[in-house]
Amino acid sequence: MSTVAAIEPRHAAGQRVRERIFRGATLAAALVVLTLLGGVAVSLLKGSWPAFSHFKLGFLTREIWNPVTDQYGALAPIYGTLVTSLLAMLLAIPVSFGIAIFLTELSPSWLKRPVGVAIELLAAVPSIIFGIWGLFVLSPILQRHVQPWLIEWLGPLPLIGKLFQGPPFGIGVLSASFVLAIMVIPFISAVMRDVFETIPDVLKESAYGLGATTWEVIWKVVVPHARTGMVGGIMLGLGRALGETMAVTFVIGNAHRISSSLLAPGTTISASIANEFTEAVGDLYTSSLVALGSLLFLITFSVIAAARFMLLRLDRRALSSV
C-alpha cells in the first residue's frame, strides 16, 4: 500500500511531463505549417530583390527578355500565364459543370462511383504526363485538324480573327490552354459535385413536385443555391492552372513575346522558370527568374485565398444548416 502511494505521484508526474512534450510537439508542428507560408514569401522576395531594385517597375511593364544584354521584363510571361489560364477555364468550366451534373443528378447509382473514381484518377495523373501527351499526341492533332480549320473559318472574321492568324504551329498558347483545361477539369468537377451534394433533397423534391424538369431543377434550384461554392471551385482550378508548370512547358513553345494570335508560341511564368533556371548564369538573370516566381506566388496566392475563403463560408453554412 505504501509503495503504491509512493509510486503514484511519480507516475502522475511522468504522465504530466509526457503530456507537455506531446502537446508541445503537436503545437510546434502546427506552427511549422503556419510559418512555412511566410518563409516562402520572405525567401522569394529576398531572392528577387536584385531584379526588382535594378529594373524597378519596368520589370512588370517591359516585354524584353534578353540574357545577352541582361535586360529582363516580365510582361510576356505574365500575359501568357493569364491568357492560357483564362482560356483553359473557358474550356474547362462547361465540361466540369456537365460532369458534376451527371454525377449528382443523372447517373444511375451503380455508375456513380466508377465514373467518380475515374475522374478523380485523372486528377492524380502527374502533370509531366499531361505534358508529354500534349506534345506528342494532342499538339499534332491540333496542328493537322483543328488549327487549319480555325485559321480558315475564324481567321477572316473582324475582331476575333486576329486571334487565329498565322501558321498552325501545333505547339503554342492554344495547345497549352487545351492541356491545362484537361488538367483542371477533374478538380473543378470534384468540388462542384461536392457542393451540389450539400443541397437538401427537400428543395429539389419540392421543385420536382411542382412539375419542373430535371434541367429546371438544376438551373433554378441547385445552381443558385450552390453559386458561392461553384465559384470557389472554379477559382481553385484557376489557381492550379496559373501555377501549372510541366504540362505547359512541353507545349507552349517558350517564346518570350506577346503575339495577338493564340496559335503562336508564347511562354508562361512557370514555363520560363522551369526552362531557364538551371541554365541561368549571372545573378541578375537568376534573380529575374525568382522575381517571376514571386509574381506567380502573389497571383496564385490571391486567387487561392479567395477560393478557400468562398469554400470556407460554404462549409460553415452547410454545417449550420444541418
Binding site: L27, P94, L135, G243, T245, I304
Partner: protein, 287 residues
C-alpha cells in the same frame, strides 16, 4: 388554348433533353481523355518494358540502357520526403483535430494549410533553392527530398485532421473518464481508431509527390550516373522523363515513355489502394 401550352411543354422537354445530353457528353469527354492518356502511355511505354529498364543506368544518346539510377533516386527522395513531411504533418493535424480544435490560431493554420495544399509546386522548388541549395552551394538529393516533404506535409495535415475528426467523441470521453491524459487518449485510442484513414493519407501523399517534377528541377537536378550520395545531385524519374522526352534521340524518348508508364501506373495503383483502405474503414460512409 392547349396549343401554346403544349408547345411550351415540348420546348421545356427539349431543353431538358438537350442539357442532360450535353452533361452526359461532358462526362464522356472527361473519361475519354483519361482513356486516351492511358492508351498512349501503354502503347508507347510497353515497347521499352524489359528487365534492362530496371537493371541498367540511364544511357548516353544512342546507347542501350535503363532507368535504374532514376528509379532508385525517385524512391529514395520520395521516402525521405515522406519521412520528413509526414510526421510533422500528422502532429500538426493532431493539434488541429484535438488540442486546438476550436482555438483561433487553428482556423488560421487551417487556412494557411489549404493554401499550401494548392500552391504551385514550382514555388516550393524555388523556396528550397533559395533556402538550402544556395547555402550548400550545389544541387543535392537531400534538397530534393526536402522540397517533396514541403509538398507532402499539407496533404498529411489535412487527411490526419479529417480522419481524427471521424473518431467518435464517446471513445475519447471514455478514455478521459478512466483518468488518461490527452496524449494517452490520442496515442492509445484515437490513432488506432483512425489508423486506416491515416494510412490512406500517407498513400495519397506518396502518390502526390512521386510524380512531382518542377520542385526537383532546381533542387535534386539530375545525374546520369549511379549515386547514393544524398549531398550530390541525384537522378529521378520525373526529371529524366522531362529531359529525355524533349531530346531528339529515339532511345531517350523511348526511355521517357517507359518511365512515364511506370510512374503513372505506380500512382494510379497507390490512389486505388488508398480508396480501398478508406472504404474498408467506413463502409457506406462518404465516398
Amino acid at each position: 388554348m392547349s396549343g401554346p401550352a403544349n408547345r411550351r411543354r415540348a420546348v421545356r422537354k427539349l431543353t431538358n433533353a438537350l442539357a442532360l445530353g450535353l452533361s452526359g457528353l461532358a462526362t464522356a469527354i472527361g473519361l475519354a481523355f483519361l482513356g486516351a492518356i492511358l492508351w498512349t502511355l501503354i502503347k508507347n511505354g510497353i515497347a521499352g518494358m524489359s528487365l534492362s529498364l530496371f537493371t541498367e543506368m540511364t544511357p548516353p544518346p544512342g546507347d542501350r540502357g535503363g532507368l535504374l539510377n532514376a528509379i532508385y533516386g525517385s524512391v529514395v527522395m520520395t521516402l525521405i520526403g515522406i519521412l520528413i513531411g509526414a510526421p510533422i504533418g500528422m502532429l500538426a493535424g493532431t493539434y488541429l483535430a484535438e488540442y486546438g480544435r476550436t482555438s483561433r490560431i487553428s482556423s488560421v493554420i487551417r487556412f494557411v494549410n489549404d493554401i499550401l495544399l494548392s500552391a504551385p509546386s514550382i514555388i516550393v522548388g524555388l523556396f528550397v533553392y533559395e533556402v538550402f541549395v544556395i547555402r550548400m552551394g550545389h544541387f543535392s538529393a537531400i534538397a530534393g527530398a526536402i522540397a517533396l516533404a514541403v509538398i507532402a506535409m499539407p496533404v498529411t495535415v489535412r487527411t490526419t485532421e479529417d480522419m481524427l475528426n471521424l473518431v467518435p467523441q464517446g471513445m475519447k470521453d471514455a478514455s478521459t473518464a478512466m483518468g488518461a491524459y490527452p496524449w494517452r487518449t490520442i496515442t492509445n485510442i484515437v490513432y488506432p481508431a483512425a489508423r486506416s484513414g491515416i494510412v490512406t493519407g500517407l498513400l495519397l501523399a506518396v502518390a502526390r509527390i512521386s510524380g512531382e517534377t518542377a520542385p526537383l528541377l532546381f533542387t535534386a537536378l539530375n545525374n546520369q550516373f549511379w549515386s547514393t550520395n544524398l549531398g550530390a545531385p541525384m537522378a529521378n524519374l520525373p526529371v529524366v522523363i522531362f529531359q529525355y522526352a524533349l531530346s531528339p534521340y529515339k532511345n531517350w524518348q523511348q526511355l521517357a515513355w517507359s518511365g512515364a508508364l511506370l510512374i503513372t501506373l505506380t500512382i494510379l495503383v497507390l490512389s486505388i489502394i488508398a480508396r480501398f483502405v478508406v472504404s474498408a474503414l467506413n463502409p457506406g460512409g462518404k465516398r
